[in-house]
Symmetry: C2
Subunit: 496 residues, 2 copies
Amino acid sequence: MTEIKNAACVGGGVIGGAWVARFALAGIDVKIFDPHPEAERIIGEVMANAERAYAMLTMAPLPPKGKLTFCKSIEETVKDADWIQESVPERLELKRGVITQIDAAARPDALIGSSTSGLLPSDLQAEMKHPERMFVAHPYNPVYLLPLVELVGGKKTSKATIERAMQGVEQIGMKGVVIAKEIEAFVGDRLLEALWREALWLIQDDICDTETLDNVMRYSFGMRWAQMGLFETYRIAGGEAGMRHFLAQFGPCLKWPWTKFTDVVDLDDALVEKIGAQSDAQAAGRSIRELERIRDENLVGIMHALKSGNGGEGWGAGKLLADFEAKLWANAKKPEADLGDVKPLHILDTKVSAAWVDYNGHMTEHRYLQVFGDTSDGLLRLIGVDLEYVRDGHSYYTVETHIRNLGEAKLGDALYSTCQLLSSDEKRLHLFSTIYNAETKEAVATAEQMMLHVDSKAGKSVAAPAKVLDKLKAITEAHAGLPTPEGVGRFVGQKR
Amino acid sequence: MTEIKNAACVGGGVIGGAWVARFALAGIDVKIFDPHPEAERIIGEVMANAERAYAMLTMAPLPPKGKLTFCKSIEETVKDADWIQESVPERLELKRGVITQIDAAARPDALIGSSTSGLLPSDLQAEMKHPERMFVAHPYNPVYLLPLVELVGGKKTSKATIERAMQGVEQIGMKGVVIAKEIEAFVGDRLLEALWREALWLIQDDICDTETLDNVMRYSFGMRWAQMGLFETYRIAGGEAGMRHFLAQFGPCLKWPWTKFTDVVDLDDALVEKIGAQSDAQAAGRSIRELERIRDENLVGIMHALKSGNGGEGWGAGKLLADFEAKLWANAKKPEADLGDVKPLHILDTKVSAAWVDYNGHMTEHRYLQVFGDTSDGLLRLIGVDLEYVRDGHSYYTVETHIRNLGEAKLGDALYSTCQLLSSDEKRLHLFSTIYNAETKEAVATAEQMMLHVDSKAGKSVAAPAKVLDKLKAITEAHAGLPTPEGVGRFVGQKR
């Protein structure tokens, strides 16, 4: 397994800048070359968007952000890099020249990816000394949120390169798909182009306006495609007889008049103006920034929804996110280090997500209990009660909770939680958790909880096994030296 | 505003059956004609799927289900109906014949919609006596979840008919979009067909397999299209310069080789078998039923996510759902009726949503507090503390909560909650809520809460105004006659 430690981005802009963000937010140092006088500002803006989006997307703690260095030459930018990503404008001569320069200055084993959305990798690698490590890595806007990367090799690209590239994009939370043969525009842009061409005809011929067309997509098949794509959706449409039945049934209509819009529309001034005006009307005065914010929050929401899909196992982009988070958790600072310490365990670092707030931007009541639940889950993992343990049929269930709301958490606030064990026995676990604002260090809420070890199939409480109780006892004993926190044993409405 | 009270469905099957379900779940009686010997069984299965999906989708209480009646003739089916939906097989002569029969038997003011996915309404209405009330109402699979209906009028369709049809689909929670001119396959299927044709070429030429193609879609633009469609997405891509800039920049590539796949692929046995085999591999042994379940839960999750979108205002299909729920709430039985009664107020009826459960199908810990929060919100609405009141700068904040988990709620369980006021004064409100399983009537959880009336801008507690206190006092006095519920005043870990 190849690990990317240093990345280089040649060409900033919206795509290059988002690659910078993907690398840096995964903890990788990035060197950047872009002669544009405003490159630092532009990349800074993309980075800010990406950080905001990641803060909502990923509940797991991110590693310390990678260092960004702006360089004066391609040579300086790429010489130490493990992965070099080229994102200069879409002109064959320009791209080929830049890639040839990168090739000359980079380590022979460094990977070189191109962000091209349509040029053939064979054409791009034509003049390289080490063409076998060059490939297309084509992402989709917004690159900091959409996980797809089309990986396309040219005639001279080695199989090992594509395998290493798959590992690389996985490391930064993206989804690599390998395109078997190089063609112009690869797979995604082919499909986009086909639909786009048809859409332009529909507007040109006044069959509908842009808002109606968008509504047709987002109230119907857009939601199908967000989760299953085309073929799996049609597989279902074929019923138990499946895909072959579907093809037999719907194949003939390929030859119906439905397919007449295959010519290319003439995108003259009149059509551009028509589409522009309809699009203005549709936006109803919303700025691009505002639309971006709405889009990004929707994308986060969709991915979160897919993360709970497939009976909690996760599905599609949601499964990818869950896997990425599992890795982040595995790499995060372990609270195990504090196990013997006479202080509450630091369990969780998180942020107030857009999905967690009301219209005022305040964290909703039940989200506090969600953080407390994640905190007790974190404690349970420390004593060996993890997903596998739960699947084997035992778990701890919460039977009683007392919450005090002491302050307010707002959208984007960084929070952390601690947990103190008050007592434990064979079946019971009595704990006290606190959520703090990471900046002010003030307690936002506390929860006192009683949990019971259960046989979840039989639905009754049973003693926990020795391997769990030993760990539990060690923490309980360490915490016996701590003062009882304020609020323990309190009932609702009790005078202070 | 025309209200549909009686509907008729001619033709069952997957599409007709789903129309039956949409009408019945919105409280409308439906008469059905379908000569297929297994029509009742097939419609029963679609109905079961739809009820399961609705149970997850809609948090608001549904009206009593409409009555289904299977009839022996078209005449009997349609004679009293306000809306007649034709969903017989896709053959012009057959459809025209059935529609002409419907026309002869229906009230002259009844609306007649056809589910055709491609035939022209002008052709379908050719032989009708009252053609002005006939139109295409083309839905998308799964019809019980995807809200889109394309409304297309023929040459003889009146404008008033399309307006009434818009109101009709809105009544059953769907989204009507009006297509300005009739063309074969309308708008949605045109777009689908264009992308489908391109996709078949990509498989035929071994550029990628079906799973890769689906992944390309669902990890990228599928998620864009689920919320914004095509043009609004591209508007953002154009940056601050907007749509016209985007067209100027990307127009030229319409003429690049990207557009060469415009011929129709020959869907011969070899290609059918190739796609069939790839699709089998991709399904990895999952049955169509299983895929349907996954798809439906994902669609619900996506719509729920979009319901929280746009800063809590809702977006696209999520906004539509929120509006539909608001109407259901407005039509639901009001707890105000019980205000003077000496019994806890019945506040909420809800169901355990797919988004609320862990992989075991059990409701997650914090969702109990969500239901309790919705319950106290319901109580607050009764005393005049509604959204408007909150926006004006005052509210009740929860300061303390004690929860007892007494039982388990599982996916799809119907729940209701009650609320008893223990005491109140100028600033404080002390309440006790209980969540019950609606079937067993057993308490699943209780919450004792202290709430404080606050000036939310100043961030401090203040006395509530008289108009609120008067209502609060009336309930508190009525509830003073109730016994103190078990669990009040309890602290965590207290012996029973």
